[in-house]
């Protein structure tokens, strides 16, 4: 039997249509005699039979289009008897021939073929650039890993798996273990977010910077501290009145923060020395104070593993509504880890909304390079004796200030704090945001 395939009629032709069968089942056909007419988008052509014999089967209907190489008919060869000839199927190029390309050459320094070599310095020498970088970023010791790559090579995936294990191991350890748990091996590490007692938590880049900046600020700027109590009853009522509409229109929450920032920037305008920085000078230049010509307010935002202080630029040019939107966007970005370098740069004064966590007073560290930082503490209803000796229930909030005593003294600082208090107490209970 010979299986006849759809021929390729032209170098770019990939399929053909059976236009007409010139023979029927049972008809005899001579070698080189046309037995079918095939049309393609380029040509119409009769196709000669490759053998002499009898048509046994027509596998494709007239008008049907099939890919080149598809069997279209079966012809029983004369005298062939039971012998069969293999179908001349088009050979698809297989890779069983001598491989054209060799497998990727392992680089000379790769780990030895002995998987046990993982765990030795050989692993370190054979580590790819990606493995080295990922190991550094995730504080993984490559030598401690068992590689799953070729010849026991530690792969990038191995490092990432190890990094995930460090994080996910924490909850298991957090469960109270019965009896004294065996101490983890010395030098084992965990992460800041999921610290395991008895392990070393390596500093992330962010944590290291925070540590350095805090020490620098504490060491160079003599901190002085002051606090006022502010009656926020009216501004609170104003906020409550506008809240639903604002959130509907902008998608951001309306907290007390933008009202507070508004009061602070107005007070900074009245006390420009609070919006300044101290230059210690060096041998060549005398110490000086630079009074900033921009008012850019940093907002301290606490995240599980670190602290970020994104900056509302030109905060003095924004309305309460504008401040709410700008702060909302920054807080949103901070929580999603999307803050860019620009978002964090250029702050001249910092506001810390500490009260969200119930704090009543705090002594913040100044953001290095600024003259002060104020906090908003928690708002609570209190019995207050007013100027006319009446007793009232009012919403009260403490506001704390740390100041760089090299830049300003108590006189300016308390004037500034009193000004913030006065402005905030005058806000509300209604108005235009």
């Amino acid at each position: 039997m010979a299986t006849i395939i759809m021929p390729q009629l032209g170098e770019t032709v990939t399929e053909g249509t059976v236009a007409q069968w010139l023979k029927n089942v049972g008809d005899s056909v001579d070698k080189y005699e046309d037995f079918v007419e095939v049309s393609t988008d380029k040509v119409n052509a009769g196709v000669p039979s490759p053998v002499t014999g009898t048509i046994r089967e027509l596998l494709v209907k007239e008008g049907e289009t099939v890919a080149t190489g598809t069997p279209i008919a079966i012809i029983e060869e004369v005298g062939a008897g039971a012998s069969t000839s293999p179908p001349p199927a088009p050979a698809t190029p297989q890779a069983e021939a001598a491989p054209v390309s060799a497998p990727p050459s392992s680089n000379g320094a790769a780990a030895s073929s002995d998987p046990a070599a993982a765990g030795s310095d050989a692993a370190l020498r054979g580590a790819s650039p990606a493995v080295r970088r990922l190991a550094r970023e995730h504080h993984i010791d490559i030598r401690a890993l068992k590689g799953t790559g070729s010849n026991g090579r530690v792969t990038a995936e191995d490092v990432m798996a190890a990094a995930r294990n460090v994080t996910t191991a924490a909850p298991a350890h957090a469960a109270p273990a019965p009896g004294p748990a065996a101490p983890p091996p010395t030098g084992r590490t965990s992460t800041y977010a999921q610290p395991i007692p008895g392990t070393i938590v390596p500093l992330t880049q962010a944590r290291r910077i925070i540590a350095e900046r805090m020490v620098e600020s504490r060491r160079t700027a003599p901190h002085a501290w002051s606090m006022v109590e502010i009656d926020v009853t009216d501004v609170w009522a104003w906020r409550v009145r506008e809240k639903a509409r604002f959130e509907r229109e902008t998608g951001y929450k309306l907290t007390l923060l933008p009202f507070f920032i508004r009061a602070v920037v107005e007070s900074l305008a009245a006390f420009p020395l609070m919006n300044a920085r101290f230059n210690a000078g060096d041998g060549a230049t005398a110490p000086s104070i630079y009074v900033n010509d921009e008012v850019n307010i940093g907002i301290a935002i606490g995240l599980p593993s670190n602290l970020v202080v994104p900056v509302v630029k030109h905060a003095d040019k924004l309305s309460i509504k504008g401040l709410a939107a700008a702060a909302g966007e920054l807080i949103d970005k901070a929580r999603k880890g999307k803050l860019g370098v620009d978002d964090l740069a250029g702050g001249t004064f910092t506001v810390n909304n500490n009260g969200a966590n119930g704090s009543w007073a705090s002594a913040p560290i100044i953001n290095a390079g600024q003259a002060g930082i104020v906090t908003m503490e928690s708002v609570a209803k209190k019995l207050v004796v007013r100027d006319d000796d009446t007793i009232a229930i009012r919403s009260m909030m403490n506001c704390c200030l740390s100041l760089d005593h090299r830049v300003v003294d108590g006189y300016v600082a308390s004037g500034f704090l009193a000004d913030v208090k006065r402005r905030l107490e005058r806000m509300g209970p209604q108005g235009e945001l």
Partner: protein
Amino acid sequence: MAVVSTTGSTVMNNVEAVRATLYEAMKNDDRTVILGEDVGARGNVFLITKDFIGEFGERRVIDTPIAEASIVGIAVGMAMEGLRPIAEIQFADFIYPSFNQIVGEAAKIRYRSNGEYTCPLVIRTPYGGGVRGALSHSVSIEALFYHVPGLKIVAPAFPADVKGLLNASIDDPDPVLFLEHKKTYRLIKGEVPNGHYTIPLGKANVLKEGSQLTVVSYGLYVHWALEAARSLQDDGVSVEVIDLRSIRPMDKTAILNSVEKTHKLLIVHEDNKFGGIGAEISAMVAEEALFNLDAPIRRLCGPDVPAMGYALPLEEEFMSSPAEMADAMREMVKF
């Protein structure tokens, strides 16, 4: 894809997509001129411009002598003086006589005239092998031209990309070398949106997402790479396949983003390996993403032989295959 106005789509193969796009360009803008060998009375050897001469006349569909330097040289003049010529080199293998007109003239017009002139010229040419085309109908020429600033090179793999990129090439104010792989001409079919649309030059397409290996290709091999990548899916091998679509400008971002994710890069192309497109991609990734690499970059390319032989074993030896690509992918993922 910048779809301007479309109503539905039509299934066509790559050769039909070229024809439909050229037809629309001739219809929509009478500055459009087609010139080349056998594009008129014969209607192009693949019948791409069949009947164009009857409809648009012999002043806009010009049968030229067998003189490629003249075809491109005349087209450069037309382009500088306000026409929108689409020059055809019948087979890429014949492009060499016009090398000076493409590299020495077209690519430099804007720079040389200090921006006074541009050269909105499209040079179309069928290229590539695997069609028993032998020495003079199989060549890949992209690497000979991609070294040249001022020249854009496009090599689509799918009919919808053929149309969008050819439209963008015609619209482009500078010369574009538009490469059409012969074997995909009738092999590859797909939906093509109706109406006029463009696909930006220099934008790659991530055809299949994957996490363990990035495969970059263009032209016919895109289809084979895709087939190979899909064949590995059941074995849990996850390969990302990127169709460059434009060779120059090259979409570096797409490649770098992918390598950042997969840490491994395989480049497959039909053209010779030495100094090929893969060499540039490889150098670029080594320069810009070394610390994302977890394996040596690998290139699976044509061998360094002078041409593709006619004999089937020679042609098969030159061409890669989905099976060979799958093997390379498997080895790289395992590395």
